[in-house]
């Protein structure tokens, strides 16, 4: 039986972070991009918890993770509202077609 150590957590977190980045960069749908962001936030959460478990920080890591979850909720609410507005403006949520930043 392999002993699960800090490295395992960090590897999972890294994979999750990379998947999140991949989601943000490669998905066409704005909602999927948002989901990528959630993944990154959660990979950060794993890191917090892992360091809290193996480090000597008391409950600080867990509490920070709770903050991140709350922040993610708030962020999701605002981001979805933005997506709705994008849809209203461009009649699409495909981020490839929204390139007015170029101008």
């Amino acid at each position: 039986m392999i002993h699960v150590g800090l490295n395992h957590f960090l590897v999972v977190s890294t994979i999750l972070f990379s998947l999140g980045i991949l989601g943000i960069v490669s998905r066409k749908n704005a909602v999927m991009v948002l989901m990528g962001i959630e993944l990154i936030l959660n990979s950060a959460n794993i890191n917090f918890i892992a360091f809290a478990k193996f480090g000597n920080f008391g409950f600080q890591g867990q509490i920070m993770a709770l903050f991140v979850i709350i922040l993610a909720a708030a962020e999701a609410a605002i981001a979805l509202a933005i997506v709705l507005n994008i849809y209203k403006t461009f009649s699409t949520v495909n981020v490839d077609e929204i390139d007015t930043l170029k101008d």
Partner: protein, 699 residues
């Protein structure tokens, strides 16, 4: 009248004609009768002059009234010392007598011109010019310094030029104007040099200050030779203005101007300005300078007199006689006959103005015919003109009871005395010879014009006596040509107050050893400008006065004989025709041609000076066209070439650099625009990519 009032009166006489000139010139085209204003102004000036001459001679006969102000004061200039230029007015006996003559003749000529110039299209402008002439002449008379003398000297030259060329549509008239102006410039150059010499030496233009410094022994370059040179240079101005040999050639040509102008400017006043100048600078003339002046005067008296013998143009004869008479005055001054020379200036002004106005009257009557060979018999048609012309002819010939006799005889007897004192008998000889010639040519003119039978019947029939405004000046001048105004004794001018108390020999200031023996003063030469010693009258030694006394009777007799002889010959030749003139002319053809062609002066000048000047001008023109223009064009070509290179440099190097920068920027832009897609995802990729790179760098 107090002295300041006299000065104010002098200023009024000076500036009134200027006012007349300005008003007449400005309103001339709008107001047809503005000339009346000008005539009125001159009458006013004459009235002022009468008042002035009366006051000066009765109340201040022995004092000079001067008033001056500092015009320019430069203070103490390094190397030059105290430098200031004063302008001022000098009212002495000489200047008031002169101003009387000038304003009187000017007034008479104005009145004469009203009829003579009637119908001329530039009638008012003519009067304006007369106004500025009178102003300038008055300035010459009243000046107390050389600078103002020079300024007004040039102004009379200008007005003379304007009036000679008054009928400028005629080429000969405009040419004559130019000739007079240019010939005068030659003389004026000498005068200017003389004035500058005086100024560099004495730092003042004022006559009295110059004289007192010379009397104190201060000479130009500390040399008596330079004093002589200064005197001769100043005299050059008189050579030009008074038409003396060898610059006399302009005066006969100046007869192209209207005849009243000839009377005013070229007979009575302006040409006498040269004599007036010598009178003013007389105290500083050394014996060498005086001798030079006397020789020039002698030649100017003789040569034109011989030319006048054969001329057929009535005005030309009078012009040459004017030069001849001016030569008398200049010679008179040269031999020290100061009083008689100035006296002759006054009497000559009257009778010569009369002769010219008389000829103007004849020319007017004959419809601008000036050739005396086409006149004759006018005595019956024009009795007033004839009578006055006869009086003037007698005066210029030196017949007793006329003014001319008094003054001319004075000069002749002085030349006689000069001969006996210095041994230079040539002046007396030429003087008497010219007296004979003068009497002859004047009566030749008179007889051919007024006596005998008319040679041009058509013109004779239209001839008529002139109107009042032309006849009145003739009568006034004829009256002034009688002896009685000058002296009670028709044979001795010295008894009149004009010579005995009004005109006085000046106090000489030249060093004793540079004077003629007879001019050495009996009193020691003291530094003085003080009026009392000037009035004492002891300027020439007794020897000279005695010599003049002794010369009186022989000179008088001889001149009378010669004058009568001249008149007699004229009558024999032209009135009674006892001698065939044409035959006699043929027997002395070369001499006749010499005289008739005016001694070939114009031809000689054309062949030498004018030709040389033209040659020089051509050379200068060539020099200008090739060398100067070459340099200028060369510079232009070089500039052009440099500009081309500069342009190329600009186009290739500077523009190339700028363009290269722009091209590089554009190229870089082309690369970087690829990154700006406007897609958020691309940016994120870039950010992550960059972060990874940074991580690797700063790990």
């Amino acid at each position: 009248m107090t002295e300041p009032q006299m000065i104010n009166l002098a200023l009024a006489i000076l500036f009134l004609p200027l006012l007349g000139f300005i008003v007449t010139l400005l309103l001339g085209k709008k107001v047809k009768s503005i000339y009346i204003f000008e005539v009125f102004i001159i009458v006013l000036a004459f009235a002022g002059a009468v008042l002035m001459v009366f006051t000066k001679l009765s109340y201040y006969p022995n004092s000079d009234i001067t008033s001056e102000f500092s015009w320019i004061n430069l203070g103490n200039v390094p190397l030059l010392g105290n430098t200031s230029i004063d302008l001022g007015i000098l009212v002495d006996n000489i200047s008031v007598l002169m101003i009387f003559v000038v304003t009187l003749i000017s007034m008479l000529v104005h009145i004469f011109s009203i009829a003579y110039m009637e119908g001329d299209k530039r009638f008012n402008r003519y009067f304006a010019y007369l106004g500025i002439f009178t102003f300038s002449m008055t300035g010459i008379v009243f000046t107390h310094n050389m600078l103002m003398m020079y300024i007004f000297w040039e102004l009379v030259g200008l007005s003379s030029y304007l009036l000679i060329g008054f009928w400028f549509e005629k080429k000969s008239a405009s040419d004559a104007g130019k000739k007079a102006f240019i010939v005068n410039r030659i003389g004026d150059l000498g005068m200017l040099s003389g004035i500058l010499l005086l100024y560099t030496t004495y730092h003042t233009f004022t006559f009295s200050q110059i004289f007192s410094q010379i009397a104190a022994g201060h000479l130009p370059f500390n040399s008596e030779l330079w004093l002589t040179i200064t005197g001769i240079l100043l005299f050059c101005g008189a050579i030009g203005k008074s038409a003396q040999f060898p610059l006399h050639v302009w005066l006969p040509d100046a007869m192209e101007g209207p005849t009243p102008v000839s009377a005013l400017i070229h007979a009575a006043t302006m040409v006498a300005a040269g004599v007036y100048l010598i009178v003013r600078i007389f105290p500083l003339l050394t014996s060498d300078a005086l001798l030079f002046i006397a020789v020039i005067g002698m030649l100017s008296a003789f040569i034109p007199a011989t030319i006048a013998l054969t001329q057929n143009d009535i005005k030309k004869v009078l012009a040459y006689s004017t030069i001849s008479q001016l030569g008398y005055m200049v010679m008179g001054l040269g031999i020290g006959a100061y009083k008689f020379a100035f006296f002759h200036l006054i009497t000559h002004a009257f009778f010569k103005a009369l002769l010219f106005l008389g000829s103007g009257s004849v020319i007017h009557a004959m419809h601008h015919e000036q050739d005396i060979t086409k006149m004759g018999g006018l005595r019956k048609k024009m009795p007033i003109t004839y009578a006055t012309f006869l009086i003037a002819s007698l005066a210029i010939s030196g017949i007793p009871l006329t003014s001319g006799f008094l003054s001319k005889d004075g000069i002749l007897q002085s030349s006689f005395a000069f001969g006996s004192l210095t041994g230079h008998w040539i002046f007396a000889f030429v003087g008497f010879l010219v007296a004979l010639l003068t009497a002859f040519y004047m009566f030749r003119l008179l007889i051919l014009t007024f006596h005998g039978t008319p040679r041009d019947q058509h013109k004779y029939e239209h001839a008529h006596e002139s109107s009042f405004s032309m006849a009145m000046p003739l009568v006034v001048l004829a009256v002034l040509s009688i002896f009685i105004w000058y002296t009670p004794n028709p044979f001795n001018p010295e008894q009149g107050s004009i010579l005995s108390s009004w005109i006085k020999n000046p106090q000489l200031v030249t060093p004793q050893d540079t004077r003629f023996n007879f001019m050495k003063s009996d009193v020691p030469n003291t530094i003085t400008t003080n009026k009392a010693s000037e009035a004492s009258g002891i300027m020439y030694s007794e020897v000279y006065n005695n010599a003049i006394e002794e010369a009186h009777i022989p000179a008088l007799t001889l001149s009378l004989i010669l004058a009568s002889l001249g008149i007699f010959i004229a009558f024999v030749f032209y009135q009674w025709k006892k001698v065939d003139v044409d035959k006699m002319v043929n027997s002395i053809k070369p001499l006749y041609n010499l005289s008739y062609n005016k001694w070939y002066f114009d031809e000689i000048y054309d062949a030498t000076i004018v030709a040389l000047t033209l040659l020089l001008s051509k050379f200068l023109a060539w020099f200008d066209l090739t060398v100067i223009d070459g340099i200028v064009n060369g510079t232009a070509a070089i500039t052009l070439e440099v500009s081309k290179w500069s342009g190329k440099f600009d186009n290739v190097v500077v523009d190339g650099f700028v363009n290269a920068m722009a091209y590089i920027s554009g190229f870089i832009g082309l690369i970087f625009r690829r990154f700006q897609t406007g897609k958020v995802q691309t940016y994120i990729v870039l950010v992550i990519f960059s972060l990874v790179i940074l991580l690797f760098i700063f790990k």
